[in-house]
Amino acid sequence: MEPAQIGEHPGAGRSGLEVTDEAPGTDPTQGEPSLAEGTGKPPVDTAIALGRRLIGNLQEVMLGTPGALTAAVIAALSGGHLLIEDVPGVGKTVLARALSISLGAELSRIQGHPDLLPSDVTGVSVYAPDSGTWEFRPGPVFAHVVLVDELNRTPPRTQAALLETMEEQQVSVDGESFPLLRPHMVIATQNPLSQLGTYPLVESQLDRFALATAIGYPDAATEARLVLRQGGRFALGELQPVCTTGEWLRAQEATQAVTVSPGIAEYAVTLCRASRSAPGVRLGASPRAAIWVIRSAQAHAVLAGRPYVTPDDVKAVAIACLAHRLLTEEGVEHSVTVVRRILETTPGPRP
C-alpha cells in the first residue's frame, strides 16, 4: 500500500526540478550551451524557456509534488497523454486545471461514471429540423486539454471510444471525421484502490498513455501550507497562462527535435526488451513504449535545459513511462519494482 511509488522517479526530487536548477548546462563557468541555431530545427531554447515557465507556474499551485508536476510537464512537452493514478484528494484535478490554464488552453472535463456513453465523449450528430441536415455537436473531447476523471469507472465501450480519439487524433461519427484540436492532451485519473464497480483499463488502453504518475501525499509542512491556501484552488484563480496554444505546439515540435544519439535509443530499447523477459511479468513493454520513453526523455532533457538526451533522462522517465504498461502478476506496485530492478540491472550506455 504505497501508492506514492506509482510514477515516482528514481529520486524524483533530485532529477525533477532540482536538476533544472543545477544542471551543469546552466553552470556559468561552463557557459551557456549554444543552442541549435541556424540548423533549421525548431529552436530548443524556446521549449526550454517554456518548460521552465510552466514548472514555475505549476509550482505556485501544486506544492510538494515535484514528481507528478514534472511528469505533467513532460507529457505536455512531449505531446503524450498522462495517466494519474492516485487516491482522491491529492490534487489530480487541480494539477490538470493548472496545466491547462498555464498552457493557455481550454480544459474540458469528463467525469467518468458507468452511464457515460461514447457519444457523451466524442459528440453526437443531431438532426437540425430547420436545415434538415444532421449536424455534429462536438463532445468534450474537442479541447486542447481533456481531463477524464475516474476513467476506470466508465464502461469499456466509452473507454474505447475515448482512447481511440487519443490515438487517432480525430473523431469519426457517422462516417465523418472531425480532427481534434492540436495540441491535444488527455489527462486521465483513476483511483487504484477502489476497484469496486470499475472497469479496469486493459493493457492496450494503458499503452496509449505516454506516462503514468502518482501525486502522492505531500509532507506535513506542505500539507499545512496547502490547508492555509485552500488546497491550491485559491491559487488557481490567480494563475496566468505562460503561453498560447500555438507556442505550446511549437514547443512540442522543438522538443521532438532534441538530439537523441543512437546509444541512447539503444538503451531505451534495451530497457523495454528487458521488461519483456523480467520475472513475474506477463506482458512487457511494447515497441510503442520505447518510442514514448525517448520522447519523454527528450522532454526531460528540455526541462534540464539540454538540447540532447543523456542516459539520466531515460532513467528519470523510465518508471513513469514503463510501469503502467507492464502486466504483472502483482499489479501496479510491483510493476514499479520491476522497472526499478530493470534499471538497476541494465548497464547504462557508455560514451
Binding site: 458507468p114 464497480g197 520475472p279 513475474g280 502483482e330
Partner: protein, 342 residues
C-alpha cells in the same frame, strides 16, 4: 465494544534445525559470506588420506610400478572428486524463477528455483527442507526445481538465503556456499491464522434465532462482476451466474457501514508475537467474512499504520509488515467498533 487479547505462553523454543540455519545465515554477515566451504570434510578427507597412505604402503612394499600408477590414478580421482565440487559451486548460479507473493508462517511455500548446475538447495532464511535443483535426469537443463520454504515467522522477504551444496561429479565430498537469491516478487509471510477473538454477535443478530445467518452485505448493490478468489460465496449472484455462464458475484458501492477497528500491538518476544499476530489475523478474517469493513492498526518499521484492509491478503500483508516490540508491555489486540451499533 473493546476486546483485548493478551499474550499466550510460549510453546516451544526454536528447534535445533532452526538454530543451525540461523547460525549459517549469520555467516552471511561476516567474512565467510558466499565463501565456498566443505561440509563434513573430516571423514572423506581422512578416508582419502587413509586410502592413499595404505596405497603408498602397498606400493612401497610390493615395489610394483603398476600399484604406483593405479595409486596415481586413484589420487587423481580422490583429489578431483574433492576439489571439483568447490569449483563447480563457484560457477553455479541459482535464480528464482517464480514465487508466490504471500504465505503464512509455519506453512510451506513453494518457490521455483532454477540452477545452472545440479545443486542441493537448503533454504536457510526462511528455512526449509533441502532439495535438488538444476539439470538432471528428472528435469531438463535450466528447468526450475521446486524449493519448499517453511517460514518460521512473519516478514517480507525480497530475497531468500539458501545454502547451495554439491559433490559433483563423484559424490566424494560435499561443498557448500551460502547465497542470497533475490525473489522476483517480494514474499509476504503473514501470520498463521490462530483463534479469533470471541466477537460479539452483530446487533441485528441479537434476536438470537440463529447464530449463522447470512451476513448482511454492507453497501448498496451496484451490479455484478465475475467471481474473484476471496469473494464470499454468499455474494454469488445466481441469476447473473446462470445468465452469463460464469460465476458472478454482487458488488457493492462503497461500504457505508462504520468500520471496525482492530489494533494490534505485538510484543518483542517473537514466539508470542507470532501467536498474537495469528489471532489478529483470524479475527480480521472473521470480521471480513461477516462483511464488516475493517480498519487494521499496526506498527510498521516506518511507524504506526492505520488503514482499511479489503481482504484477507491485505490483512496478511499488513500483519507481515508489523514489527515486534512495537509497544510497551506484553502486546495486545483490541477490537473496537467505531460506528453507532454500540
Amino acid at each position: 465494544m473493546t476486546l483485548t487479547a493478551g499474550p499466550l505462553p510460549p510453546v516451544s523454543p526454536p528447534t535445533a534445525r532452526e538454530r543451525r540455519a540461523a547460525r549459517r545465515v549469520g555467516m552471511l554477515g561476516n567474512r565467510r559470506k558466499g565463501r565456498v566451504h566443505p561440509l563434513r570434510a573430516v571423514l572423506p578427507v581422512a578416508g582419502a588420506l587413509l586410502i592413499m597412505v595404505a596405497w603408498g604402503t602397498v606400493a612401497r612394499n610390493s615395489g610394483s610400478g603398476w600399484v604406483q600408477a593405479l595409486g596415481a590414478a586413484l589420487a587423481g580421482v580422490l583429489l578431483t572428486g574433492m576439489v571439483w565440487p568447490a569449483l563447480a559451486l563457484r560457477r553455479a548460479r541459482v535464480h528464482c524463477t517464480g514465487c508466490p507473493t504471500d504465505g503464512s508462517a509455519g506453512l510451506p511455500v513453494e518457490i521455483m528455483v532454477g540452477a545452472s548446475a545440479r545443486v542441493r538447495v537448503e533454504p536457510l532464511e526462511p528455512s526449509g527442507p533441502e532439495t535438488f535443483v538444476g539439470p538432471g535426469n528428472r528435469s531438463q537443463r535450466g528447468e526450475a526445481g521446486i524449493v519448499t520454504l517453511v517460514p518460521g515467522g512473519r516478514g517480507i522477504h525480497p530475497s531468500i538465503v539458501v545454502e547451495l551444496a554439491t559433490a559433483a561429479p563423484f559424490g566424494l565430498l560435499w561443498w557448500a556456499r551460502t547465497v542470497r537469491v533475490p525473489l522476483p516478487t517480494d514474499l509476504h509471510i503473514g501470520p498463521r491464522p490462530g483463534t479469533a477473538l470471541a466477537l460479539p454477535p452483530r446487533h441485528d443478530e441479537r434476536a438470537g434465532e440463529s447464530s449463522r445467518r447470512i451476513p448482511t452485505v454492507v453497501g448498496e448493490p451496484r451490479g455484478v462482476r465475475p467471481y474473484r478468489p476471496g469473494d464470499s460465496r454468499r455474494w454469488v449472484h445466481w441469476p447473473a451466474t446462470a445468465h452469463s455462464g460464469e460465476l458472478m458475484v454482487r458488488e457493492m458501492e462503497g461500504p457505508t457501514a462504520e468500520p471496525i477497528l482492530v489494533n494490534v500491538i505485538l510484543p518483542s518476544s517473537p514466539v508470542v508475537a507470532e501467536q498474537l499476530a495469528g489471532r489478529a489475523y483470524a479475527t480480521v478474517q472473521e470480521l471480513l467474512d461477516r462483511g464488516s469493513p475493517v480498519l487494521l492498526g499496526t506498527v510498521e518499521v516506518n511507524g504506526p499504520c492505520l488503514a482499511r484492509v479489503a481482504d484477507r491478503r491485505a490483512a496478511s500483508r499488513r500483519l507481515a509488515r508489523a514489527v515486534n516490540g512495537s509497544g510497551p508491555g506484553p502486546g495486545e489486540i483490541t477490537v473496537e467498533t467505531t460506528g453507532p451499533d454500540r
